[in-house]
């Protein structure tokens, strides 16, 4: 818990200052700070810009500064490579180019020989426990800086500097929302603790969070019970999840940077699978509260008040997901037999409309962010499941995984370009990410079983 508080303080303390920052500026809201030079680097002939990220320059030359400089440079490379918006010149190609010692002695001619369009150069300076990291993107042809930021803050997590810079470079260069600063949450049995209220051998599952690339995995819950289906609030400051700590599934909201816990539902009936409305004020949950084995969806305020029944059918109605505008909820119902995906107006008016018509069994719809209007889901394709994506307007479906283990519980990244999901392809259940067209498979977790991911906005 303490580390979380430190972390929060660090995030707030990492002041972002536009370059060039000749004189001290009053502290302004970091997100609103405009970049002074708004030029973009383009590739030749419409191809993606060719970038190089030479090793970052450590201005303080102790071993720790050198290590931090190396880390930030490598993480920034990975972050900028993630969206496939840039082409990267392999590192060994430019091994012979003299290393710059500052922003002023960059050998542009040599870089130009390698057909580099852009060059990311960074400096790292360590003073006590604080870091000053300056990152610039140069247009090699024009020999000018098109992006520059100075970041200062703690040295606790150097990777965060790279993540912040990457997302800003994506925004300024490609008008794209990057996901380098986003986080994943999931549940894991890696602690190997046993449930205490049962004579059966049952492993506890706890909620974890991690950076989008799987680094900095940390446990959120510590109550040694079954915790499932964590969901980030739209502001990424809270996580709603289903916990059995009171003996049956109920919804809890953990305000992770404050360290407070809200008990949203209290039973006696169970409540599962909370889905945040896009404005973060409401939760849609599935509950069998009629007591006849039926499950229906209910919408409530995030404190559990103002409960309204959304679906009303004597069948199973579960797995809610909101559309980005908050006007519709897609969900799963077995009202005609096997589970299928339906959509209903968020105010409950009108009959639900069935979306999946060619699947034998479909569950866990997750609505993409705009501008895509897609729903990813898990479809039974054989003994197991595969991830598919439906275009909501045309109802066309494309398949992303093809029977490599079973693949379930897909979620979109905040820019809609990536999917995180659970897969057994490497043995145990693990979290993987893929691009929305099924490329760049990346394994996020490796210890224990890890499942039911969600990706922060």
């Amino acid at each position: 818990m303490m580390s979380k508080i430190f972390y929060a303080a660090f995030v707030l303390g990492a002041a972002v200052v536009a370059w060039p920052a000749a004189q001290p500026q009053p502290p302004a809201p970091p997100s609103q700070q405009p970049t002074e030079i708004a030029a973009t680097i383009t590739g030749e002939g419409g191809s993606p810009p060719r970038l190089a990220v030479p090793d970052f320059i450590a201005l303080t030359t102790d071993a720790e500064s050198l290590a931090i400089a190396r880390t930030i440079g490598q993480v920034l490379w990975d972050d900028l490579n993630y969206e496939r918006e840039f082409a990267f010149i392999p590192r060994d190609v430019y091994a012979t180019i003299p290393k710059a010692t500052s922003f002023n002695d960059i050998p542009y001619d040599r870089w130009r020989e390698l057909n580099a369009d852009g060059l990311v150069v960074g400096t790292v300076q360590k003073t006590g426990n604080s870091l000053r990291v300056e990152i610039r993107l140069f247009n090699v042809r024009g020999r000018q800086s098109v992006f520059g930021k100075v970041y200062t803050g703690s040295g606790a997590n150097p990777r965060l500097y790279a993540h912040m810079a990457a997302d800003e470079i994506y925004q300024s260069q490609r008008a794209l929302r990057g996901v380098a600063e986003s986080k994943l949450t999931f549940v894991s049995d890696r602690d190997g603790a046993r449930m205490t209220n049962t004579v059966e051998k049952r492993d506890t599952k706890e909620v974890y969070i991690a950076d989008y690339d799987g680094e900095n995995q940390r446990r959120l819950t510590t109550d040694r019970t079954l915790n499932t289906f964590p969901r980030w609030s739209p502001d990424a400051r809270s996580i709603a999840y289903t916990s059995y700590r009171r003996g049956a599934g109920q919804i809890f909201v953990s305000n992770i940077y404050v360290g407070t816990l809200e008990e949203v539902t209290k039973g006696p009936a169970e409540n599962w699978l909370a889905a945040w409305s896009p404005d973060g004020t409401k939760l849609c949950v599935a509950s069998p509260r009629e007591g006849k084995g039926h499950t229906n969806l209910y919408v409530m305020n995030r404190d559990g008040s103002g409960v309204r029944k959304l679906t009303d059918h004597p069948s199973i109605n579960t797995s809610p997901t909101w559309n980005p505008a908050g006007t519709q909820v897609a969900f799963v119902s077995d009202r005609t037999g096997a589970p299928q995906i339906y959509v209903i107006a968020a105010d409950g008016v009108g009959q639900p409309q069935r979306l999946t018509t060619t699947e034998g069994y479909a569950d866990k719809p997750t609505w993409s962010p705009a501008p895509y209007n897609e729903i990813a889901f898990a479809a039974r394709t054989g003994p197991g499941f595969d991830v598919k994506i439906m275009d909501v307007a045309t109802r066309t479906v494309k398949q992303l995984t093809f029977g490599e283990g079973t693949n379930e519980s897909p979620v979109f990244s905040s820019n809609g370009r990536h999917i995180a999901f659970t897969s057994t392809r490497s043995g145990k259940k693990q979290i993987f990410t893929l691009t929305r067209d099924g490329r760049d498979l990346k394994q996020i977790t490796r210890v224990g079983n890890n499942e039911q991911p969600d990706w922060s906005k």
Partner: protein, 188 residues
């Protein structure tokens, strides 16, 4: 544990009884002297004893091994039988009905018991849908018990979906064990 202790006790009893018999048989005792003859009239022979009606064996009262066991021991060797289900189904099959009939008899014999019925699913459904399917299985078992006269407020349901398989295997044998309504005694 309990069973073994009981067996040991029973064996001990039998041995003790045998030992007693052995001791009493061979002792030669002097005959008691004949009663002195007095002129008392011979009493009338007592009436033939009226045959008592056979005593009905007592109901097994709640003072047996089951009721003296701790909740944990009870659940470890649960007298309440699980109900198994077909794939994607929450229908109580004839074998399931038989198990529930027996459970109902037991629950009536021990009217203070409170029970949680856990709904479980095999891994072939999705984690999300299986929560509701598990609940439907638990509710089906509960409804059946209620029709047999078990009070509904003694029967709580909880669904674990596919979170806690009883058999970690990935074949039909394991799946069949994992599609179940499982009974946990929570109070006695």
């Amino acid at each position: 544990m309990t069973r073994r202790a009981l067996t040991a006790l029973a064996v001990a009893c039998v041995l003790t009884t045998l030992a007693c018999h052995k001791k009493t048989t061979p002792v030669a005792r002097p005959m008691p002297p004949p009663p002195t003859t007095t002129a008392t009239p011979r009493p009338a022979s007592p009436p033939e004893p009226v045959a008592e009606p056979t005593i009905v064996p007592p109901e097994p009262v709640p003072s047996d091994a089951i009721s003296s066991a701790s909740l944990e021991d009870l659940n470890r060797n649960s007298p309440l039988k699980p109900v198994f289900f077909d794939l994607d189904s929450s229908e109580v099959t004839p074998p399931g009905q038989k198990a529930l009939d027996e459970n109902a008899t037991l629950l009536k014999r021990y009217p203070t018991w409170a029970v949680t019925i856990e709904g479980h699913c095999d891994e072939r459904g999705t984690a999300e849908y299986n929560l509701a399917l598990g609940e439907r299985r638990a509710a089906a078992a509960r409804a059946y018990l209620v029709t047999l006269g078990v009070s509904a407020d003694r029967l709580r349901t909880v669904s674990y979906g596919k979170e806690f398989p009883f058999d970690p295997g990935h074949d039909e044998g394991a799946f069949a064990k994992n599609r179940r309504a499982h009974f946990v005694i929570t109070a006695k």
